[in-house]
């Protein structure tokens, strides 16, 4: 915010678009950290990133090393923070290594969903009416198509892997993002400044770049955060079913599948990965909610 009196402003060249965007970002970030849910979400996401990066270089034990002499250890025994399973795998190291898969799927599938959603929404809202209507109906049909089914079709043809899971989750949630973004774009399109730009002869491409994208960016970022949360859940479910990450790569869904058989003997082994998934998803969801409030000037003052 400039503290100069308004009459001096026209005398200076306008602040560059980059500077203005930075200022807007600072305002949103400030509103975000004023919210407990926003801080919680940022901390959880930060921890996930740090855990993923750290596990590349270091874990307390080799997560895949089989050591039958230290099998079935309880937490805090033999230097194993969360204990070991029947093969002596250190559970904390497996959680750390598994966070890589979660982070990768969440970011890749989330970004894919946002891109697909944006393209579909633009195709629905910025094109001639008849074409747009067809795209809208297509989006509605695709929304009825469960993500998991898409993933299983891909798995039936290619065999399940992290890539098929990411593709299915990205496309599946992309149409959901498209539905939300289409409504936003339609309302931006009816504003006076877009009408004015059209009257001045601006092409669709310019209107999209100068007016539509900056206006729907907050919505897209919120949807990205929520799609990432859904992606974490979907990846865990797919891997559990055997159609996501390969069992030879440590992952939280894979840990659940692996330990289910021993639930009566060692219930804690099922608890750890479940908690990790739940906290990650909770953090991403709360981050999304807080971002939505923080990017809305009407709600920015209220602190939830």
């Amino acid at each position: 915010m400039s503290h100069r009196a308004p009459e001096y402003v026209p005398a200076r060249p306008r602040r560059s678009a980059w500077r203005r965007r930075q200022a807007a970002l600072r305002t949103v970030l400030a509103a975000l950290v004023r919210r407990r849910s926003g801080v919680f979400g940022l901390v959880v996401f930060g921890l996930l990133v740090v855990a993923g990066l750290v596990s590349l270089a270091w874990t307390p034990f080799d997560p895949e090393a089989t050591d039958v002499h230290s099998a079935w250890l309880l937490p805090l025994h033999g230097g194993h923070l969360l204990g070991t399973d029947r093969l002596g795998h250190d559970q904390f190291s497996q959680l750390l290594a598994g966070s890589r898969e979660t982070l990768l799927t969440a970011v890749a599938a989330g970004v894919l969903a946002a891109v697909i959603g944006l393209v579909l929404a633009l195709a629905a809202a910025m094109t001639p009416r008849r074409f747009g209507a067809v795209v809208v109906q297509l989006i509605d049909i695709l929304i009825a198509f469960p993500v998991l089914l898409l993933a299983m079709i891909l798995a039936a043809v290619y065999g399940g892997s992290t890539v098929t899971a990411i593709a299915a989750i990205g496309v599946g949630y992309g149409v959901v993002v498209a539905r939300v973004a289409r409504g936003e774009i339609a309302s931006v399109r009816q504003t006076d400044y877009v009408l004015a730009a059209q009257a001045a002869g601006a092409r669709t491409g310019r209107i999209v770049r100068k007016h539509v994208l900056p206006n729907i960016a907050p919505t897209l970022i919120v949807q990205l955060s929520l799609a990432m949360a859904l992606a974490v859940l979907a990846e865990a479910a797919l891997t559990y079913l055997g159609y996501g990450t390969s069992p030879s790569v440590p992952s939280w869904g894979g840990m659940l599948a692996e330990q289910q058989a021993y639930i009566s003997a060692r219930p804690l082994l099922v608890i750890w990965p479940g908690l990790a998934i739940a906290i990650t998803v909770l953090g991403l969801n709360l981050l999304g909610d807080a971002l939505r409030d923080a990017s809305d000037p009407r709600l920015r003052g209220e602190v939830a």
Binding site: P146, L149, I153, A156, G160, G242, I263, L282
Partner: protein, 316 residues
């Protein structure tokens, strides 16, 4: 209403058609060959060609699609590529598990979400409301399959009061036994889906709470709860029914996962096994049935949505 009904019905038929084309195209256009799966890697080219001819894989794609969808319209979902069993008959049998599972899960989700969501909205400034909202956030974040595992841990392993997995082999001939094996799956589905719905119930009730008509109802002497029950809930139900329509897809996916956790012999378990075997005829039949169910249920919910909103009913 009639005009809307006809339009919505046309839309339903088109949607199912588009979905069937998509499913067929996805399974056929992508590489991967059933003939090699059946014949094994050592099969000679002649053997492979014979298998393809038997399965009709040598015909043009539109011809294959035509004979598949023509059969489906007569209730014939084709035969398994691996053992020749009838896909339709198996689906009918598996639906006896999946349909009650999904229906019971939805019912329980509504029983949880509606009262608690209304409570969370009405008491949104008190610790009770905040607590319910927080619980629903946690419920959304917890994976359905983990809820299932924890339920197994508590009720089957520790307390030993309900079966941990499986379904009676003779199906519903002993209803008591069948219901007992569905109790934990129902609770797992109901808790997960209920948490999602609760948020929508809360926000839509919050939306009507400050409406003019509710203030009028209070002014003419109704109590707060009386006004909400008589006038508010009907209005709040509108957005919730639309969300329920969208949630059906999520619920059915939840059922697929839950069937696996509790090893229930339903459509989900069947699909998972057939994907592993790459039995494409069965997979496409199962996926079509599941997607079709989602589309039909959201169609019905849309109609209900119209019926409970007189404004939309008269709009035609």
């Amino acid at each position: 209403m009639t005009r809307y009904l006809v339009w919505r019905l046309v839309l339903l038929v088109v949607s199912v058609f588009v979905a069937s084309v998509l499913i067929f195209a996805l399974l056929r256009l992508l590489p991967g060959d059933v003939a090699t799966t059946i014949g094994g890697l050592r099969a000679t080219p002649a053997q492979l060609a014979r298998i393809r001819a038997e399965l009709g894989l040598d015909r043009s794609l539109p011809a294959q699609y035509g004979s598949w969808i023509g059969g489906v319209l007569h209730g014939d979902f084709g035969r398994s590529q691996l053992d020749g069993s009838s896909v339709g008959a198996q689906l009918a049998q598996k639906l006896q598990v999946t349909a009650p599972l999904a229906a019971g899960g939805t019912l329980l989700a509504l029983l949880i979400a509606v009262p608690l969501g209304v409570l969370a909205a009405v008491r949104h400034r008190s610790p009770v409301g905040a607590g319910v909202s927080a619980l629903s956030q946690v419920g959304i974040a917890v994976p359905t399959l983990w809820v299932g595992l924890v339920l197994v841990l508590v009720f089957a392993v520790e307390l030993n009061v309900l079966p941990a997995q499986g379904f009676p082999t003779n199906g519903w001939s002993d209803p008591g036994l069948a219901v007992r094996s569905l109790v934990l799956p129902w609770i797992a589905l109901g808790l997960s889906e209920g948490a999602v719905l609760l948020r929508f119930v809360r926000s839509s009730v919050l939306g009507v709470l400050h409406s003019d008509y509710l203030r009028t109802a209070r002014a003419k002497g109704l109590t707060r709860w009386g006004a909400l029950l008589r006038h508010g809930l009907r209005n709040a139900a509108l957005p919730v029914t639309s969300v329920l329509g969208l949630q059906i897809a999520a619920l059915i996916v939840g059922a697929v996962v839950i069937e696996q956790v509790f090893t229930l012999p339903g459509v989900g378990s069947m699909l998972i096994a057939d994907v592993a075997n790459r039995d494409l005829v069965k997979v496409q039949g199962e996926v079509l049935v599941i997607t079709g169910a989602v589309l039909v249920i959201s169609f019905l919910i849309d109609i209900v949505h119209r019926l409970i909103d007189p404004r939309l009913r008269e709009a035609g």
